[in-house]
């Protein structure tokens, strides 16, 4: 197992490098003089020159890439112009807020999705199956940002159950219950689509597995049906569910952009949108590379989990 983890980690290095190259190339597409584009037409010449030097824009493309990469590896993501602070500081601060939101949503959609899929499969064509199928259908069709707005309207404005937005109450908040209260709506809104996708997949994976011979064996042994479904069948179905969880984690992570805007959650998605609107290129660059790298590492964890779950995979 240990060697498998190391192997996966090593195989991630080219992917991580590829990510930096792609981001770098995209940023190199900025038309015209990037420094002026970034700073706007009112920029002073000193500022333009300073930015050119900071970005290393006087050097050739390849050299610029390696300078940028080298800087990042030493933890220097540059300085944000709009915020006037180191990019990395801003990113880590914002990313932790996103991680809370996306993490809770991911746990929610995994549990709810798998549960719904299992119930749906076990009660195929029954009323529970029909109800779940219909709910899932609606769920995966609602844009999360619209859903978020409607939730605010219903639960925060009309019913006054939950706070409208933000991560903590402005006055007197800051503790865990406060955070949780602020988390309920955004995490639900963020997890709805992923829950639907996972539920669908879990249902078909369960149906596939339930037709297998070893399920008949379990029943022939006299294993109670509950255990047949929640044990034998689900265990086998997880093998095809887990990779989809990995993919959905990516959707939840990137979907948090919308939710952070709607609920004014101080996460990295909102930071990126603000940075794009203020043309704070270094902040965008750093943020994108950082989040993508985290996602790659998360996928390694998923792979390792898969390896632990399925003894047939040579580890």
């Amino acid at each position: 197992m240990g060697s498998y983890i190391i192997k996966r980690l090593i195989s991630a290095i080219p992917v991580l490098l590829g990510i930096t190259i792609i981001v770098f190339l995209i940023m190199a597409m900025i038309p015209g003089d990037p420094a002026t584009a970034i700073l706007g037409s009112y920029a002073t010449p000193e500022n333009v020159a300073r930015l050119n030097r900071d970005l290393g824009l006087d050097a050739p493309l390849v050299k610029r890439y390696f300078i940028w990469l080298g800087n990042m590896l030493t933890g220097d993501f540059g300085r944000s112009y709009s915020l006037n602070r180191p990019v990395l500081d801003e990113i880590t601060e914002r990313f932790s807020a996103t991680l809370i939101l996306a993490g809770v949503s991911f746990v929610l959609c995994s549990i709810l999705g798998i549960l719904a899929g299992v119930v749906s499969a076990a009660r195929q064509y029954g009323w529970a199956d029909k109800l779940i199928t219909l709910t899932v259908l609606v769920g995966i069709s609602v844009p999360s940002f619209f859903l978020g707005m409607m939730m605010i309207l219903l639960f925060a404005v009309n019913l006054r159950w939950l706070p409208v937005s933000g991560m903590y109450a402005i006055y007197g908040g800051g503790d865990l219950p406060d955070l949780l209260r602020h988390l309920i709506m955004p995490s639900l809104a963020l997890s709805v689509v992923a829950t639907g996708v996972i539920a669908r997949l879990a249902r078909s994976a369960m149906l596939e597995v339930l037709r297998q011979d070893f399920i008949r064996t379990a029943r022939a042994k006299g294993v109670p049906e509950r255990r047949v479904i929640m044990g034998h069948a689900l265990r086998a179905a997880m093998v095809s569910i887990i990779p989809v969880l990995g993919i959905q984690a990516g959707f939840v992570l990137s979907g948090s952009v919308y939710i952070e805007i709607v609920f004014q959650w101080p996460g990295i998605g909102r930071m990126l949108v603000d940075a794009i609107l203020t043309r704070d290129i270094l902040l965008v660059q750093g943020g994108v590379v950082f989040v993508a790298a985290c996602y790659v590492i998360f996928n390694i964890i998923v792979d390792v989990a898969q390896g632990m779950l399925d003894p047939r995979i040579k580890t």
């Binding site: 990510i19 597409m29 619209f146 149906l207 070893f214 008949r216 034998h232 949108v273 609107l277 994108v288």
Partner: protein
Amino acid sequence: MTGFLKLLFRNRLAAMGAVILGAILLLVILTPILPLQNPDVTATADRFQRPLSPGHLLGTDHLGRDLLARLLYGTRLSLIVGVAAALIAGIIGSAIGITAGYFGGRLDNIVMRGVDMLMAFPYILLALAIVAALGPGLMNALIAVAAVNIPFFARNIRGITVGLAGREFIDAAKLSGMGHTRIILTELLPNVLPVIIIAMSTTVGWMILETAGLSFLGLGSQPPQADLGSMLGEARSSLITSPYVSLVPGVMIFLIVMSINLLGDGVRDALDPRLRSGALSRPLATTLVSGARRPVPPARDGLLQIADLRTQFHVGSRIYKAVDGVSLSVRPGECLGIIGESGSGKSVTALSLMGLVASPPGIITGGSVWFDGRDMIGAPYEDLRRIRGDRVAYIFQDPLSTLHPLYRIGDQLAEAIQAHHKIGKAEANERALQLLRDVRIPNPESRVRNYPHEMSGGMRQRVGIAMALVNDPAVIIADEPTTALDVTVQAQILMLLEDLRRERGLAIVFITHDFGVVGQLCDRVAVMYAGRIVEEGPTAEVLARPSHPYTKRLIACVPELGQGRREMAAIAGLPPVVSDLPPGCAFAPRCDKASDSCRKGDIALSGSGGRAVRCLFPEEALT
């Protein structure tokens, strides 16, 4: 094609999707000629008019613009942008995929590496990076959304192209001197095109949603031009005071995406042949029993008695009579063989006993199975479960697929015990270990920790037998337990079963297609054909003087008892399909002695003293 459309529209949800999407498309096409107000003309005096106010059917927004007009123009814009993004992504992605798949080698390698890296990004993040570089704007949002979807198409289409590139017609085209471009355009593309179109139509919903999302963030369409996303984004500031301004574009996005999803699901289902055959339904915990079934009292004595059992498969409008009135019985310590070709109903008979026939499509329509004085057919699930694996245990054919692939075999054995006895894990493990010893598995201490795929076929079948023995059952039903094994292992397993039967006084029902095996193990044998018993009797007598022409031929197929591979193919002709049996003898089409009278009415199973045959002109007359 018409069949496909029929299937699509039989699906009510898909039809609903088509209707909604059609209506939206129609509205959008008609938008320019409808008597609408200018969507961009502001009238501050008319801000936030409620829906149904005079002149503004859906009300007005924060600048007093007519919401209906804005909705229709916005929908138009969103649809155009989404479709354009799908087209661009589809065309570029497919071009990359086809090129990489067709040429293969280094090029393929490099391109696919790049695709993998692009796919390593969380989706929207990449689009954000592109918009960041190009600057906000609807055109740039379109480019970004198309770009992030290119890898998806490239990967899918490449996979299909690789499959096609190795086929003969491509080789033939190459040999005939066609250039690469011509081969791609005239030979490959027509084959790949349907896949591209399906992929585009299933992703277009996503792309509409994504461009709307970017506009919602303020990175897409810029004022005064508005697609649905930016309408929603602008409405956010007045969400609390005038929610309908948000509701109007939001519901529209929802309707578009949902109708596309519905349609897409419908297309997928209509294309998937498994759905039609009903093969995608999962089997219930016990076989369904028809309400019309009447219990039949046992005709003979015995531990396990099957009385006029009838099991059918209902697939669509077809009815397969897999088991059609079978009566049998086993006494304690006796071994009964049921022999027949595949499709004869022997396995279905075995599975029906404890309600293990997959249902749907299986259904027991008649007869009884008496065990311990109780009719097991139609017994409540919990009663059946208590007997399964405890009093009546099964051994199945291929233990690689019948053992759980992800559980250690020790755990699978222990579980079988714990399903019926309240004992601790340690005790169950100890007992599992002892059973592995009983079935003569070497090194049982280390074997308990094995997964099924780590064992040989013979070892796995020993585990299968051990699992059947765990609770000291009264009856073991063995469904072709040696078929997947080679001859020496088969002999060992048969010997083991024989020993166990003698030591423990087990009754065994042994299902096989092999008379050699029957000869070694079984006291009595029943020959099945097309769901019915055609001959029955003590093994020695049946072997020595087969009475039914079919039995005679089955025996003739055995080269020498207990040795060599035996093939059923030696009997000319195929076993009949049990959905439309001809009247009279089911064997008639393959029988040398068949005459017109054989094809008339039902032929009864006749005989006495446990010896019976179902034939008008038996090879040996039974007294």
